[in-house]
């Protein structure tokens, strides 16, 4: 049997005409969910990589004490700590820049007593007793705190995992909806072409022969819908990428996808077509099994 020829006039079915559109919309939403999940995953990895092996030491200003002296004491102690690979004392401009999203432009911060911040890089694989370090530093320079970003990172990981779970749920629901739609369309096709199928059966066709025609039809419609959906999703992602790229916020993850991530999205139409094909095949075989 030629791949393109069909003994059943499935192309004439009204029920099959809207299937590519439905699959298209489903693939569109699935692609957006998948892209969001991948972008978030990437951002999370970057945040984790950036924060693992680092500490931030904060020395709050006190009216009666010279901040510079206390900073020197803390720096001295940190340099003497074996696990510390290096330190960087952030200047006032850096601190002002960090506070800018919350407190406004740097000029407005000029009169405010800003804390001193020290970025600490740990040696690879080194472990630090955070409580002990905190205590030593606070004894040398009261008001000194040490932050390993664990809580912030933990909250972020929880959020990211929740969003990823949501993405997986959306993908599953979209897949289930696609399967149900294909089952409905296939059953409608079986009903519409009942007499033709009966005839083809009577002249000796096996169930697989008839199922092949439905599955080929579903494959074509699924592929067409999938390509439509992923094309629309790509346009949407590119537009969103432009918009997000224009917003200078360190908290928003970039929406540009890597080539392999685009490839994953490009596989969605293939997956949609395969799901449609398999669903149609199983639906037909199951239905035909009930007739002689």
């Amino acid at each position: 049997m030629s791949f393109l020829r069909s003994d059943l006039p499935l192309n004439q079915d009204a029920s099959g005409r809207f299937l590519p559109w439905i699959i298209g919309f489903m693939v569109y939403f699935a692609a957006l969910a998948l892209a969001a999940t991948m972008a978030l995953d990437e951002a999370l990895s970057r945040w984790q990589a950036g924060l693992t092996g680092t500490l931030t030491v904060q020395i709050t200003p006190a009216p009666a004490e010279d901040l510079a002296v206390r900073v020197d004491q803390v720096v001295g102690l940190l340099k003497g700590t074996p696990a510390v690979a290096g330190i960087e004392l952030l200047n006032d401009d850096d601190v002002a820049h960090l506070l800018e999203p919350w407190l406004g432009p740097s000029e407005a911060l000029a009169g405010l007593p800003l804390p001193a911040l020290i970025a600490v890089n740990l040696r690879p694989g080194a472990t630090v007793d955070l409580a002990a370090l905190q205590q030593r530093l606070a004894e040398a320079a009261p008001g000194t705190t040490v932050d390993d970003h664990g809580r912030w990172l933990s909250d972020l990981v929880t959020l990211a995992r929740s969003v990823k779970l949501l993405g997986a749920i959306i993908l599953s629901l979209v897949g289930a909806a696609a399967v149900i739609t294909v089952i409905f369309v296939t059953r409608t096709g079986l009903s519409i072409h009942r007499r033709v199928i009966e005839l083809v059966h009577l002249i000796g066709a096996r169930d697989a022969y008839i199922a092949r025609q439905f599955e080929t039809h579903a494959l074509r419609l699924g592929l067409a819908g999938g390509l439509l959906g992923v094309a629309l999703a790509a346009l949407t992602l590119l537009a969103l990428g432009q918009i997000v790229g224009g917003i200078e916020s360190p908290l928003l993850p970039p929406l540009s996808l890597r080539p392999w991530q685009w490839l994953v999205l490009g596989l969605l139409p293939v997956a949609a077509a395969a799901i449609a094909m398999l669903t149609a095949r199983l639906t037909v075989l199951r239905s035909l099994n009930r007739v002689m």
Binding site: S2, D7, P9, E198, L199, H201, L202, I203, G204, M292
Partner: protein, 226 residues
């Protein structure tokens, strides 16, 4: 080859359509199936082309018991049977050539062979100029000839025809009967259900006469033998 033993058919809880039918069709035999409308001819044919299972008795086709045959073995059996339906049952979206090619394609015959044999047969039944015509553009008689060509294209062991000459003029009817006889000579068992008494008397073959669901066999010969 085809054996009916005390076979009965009824649809759901309705009255029996066929009762206590017993007969044997030997390979290469030729039979007319006659009887008034509603006598059960179509049901008897449906039993023979495996569209129906008996509710009583036994039907055996090519040595296989229809009541107990596994579902997956049915297609191979059906491929040995050619059927001309009373309402033709051509596929409207397929051309004459594709309609006739259908049994071959279903059986997995190569396209080269299909392209060689199908046009030849269509020419033989007088439709050489209508190879690519859709059924809707053909007359009733032409559609009937396409249906007959489809039934015989795979050289079946058993040919069942339900009123195959009902829509054609006498000349074509006789020509089609000759085609059936040619097939019969090649070993195909032929059963033709018909109301055409003229045809039955002209071609002297054994008759399976159905009346009120009961079968009587009338051997060929003088009419008063019936």
């Amino acid at each position: 080859m085809i054996l009916f033993e005390n076979t009965g058919v009824r649809y759901d809880d309705g009255p029996p359509i066929l009762r206590n039918i017993s007969f044997t069709l030997t390979p290469g035999s030729f039979h007319f199936l006659v009887g008034p409308s509603g006598a059960g001819k179509s049901s008897l044919l449906r039993l023979m082309y495996l569209a129906l299972r008996p509710v009583e008795g036994r039907v055996s086709l090519f040595g296989r018991d229809v009541s107990t045959i596994r579902r997956r073995d049915i297609p191979a059996l059906r491929r040995r049977i050619g059927v001309v339906f009373q309402d033709f049952r051509l596929l409207d979206h397929l051309s004459a050539i594709d309609n006739v090619a259908l049994p071959l394609r279903v059986a997995g015959v190569r396209e080269a062979e299909i392209k060689r044999h199908v046009p030849e047969l269509l020419k033989w039944v007088g439709l050489g100029d209508h190879l690519n015509a859709l059924p809707a553009t053909l007359s009733g008689g032409q559609q009937q000839r396409v249906a007959i060509a489809r039934a015989v294209i795979s050289r079946p062991s058993l040919l069942l025809a339900d009123e195959p000459t009902g829509n054609v003029d006498d000349a074509i009817a006789v020509r089609l009967m000759y085609l059936f006889e040619e097939l019969n000579k090649l070993g195909t068992t032929v059963v033709i259900a018909t109301h055409n008494d003229g045809l039955v008397s002209r071609f002297d073959h054994r008759q399976l006469r159905l009346e009120d669901g009961v079968l009587r066999i009338v051997e060929p010969g003088p009419r008063d033998a019936a």
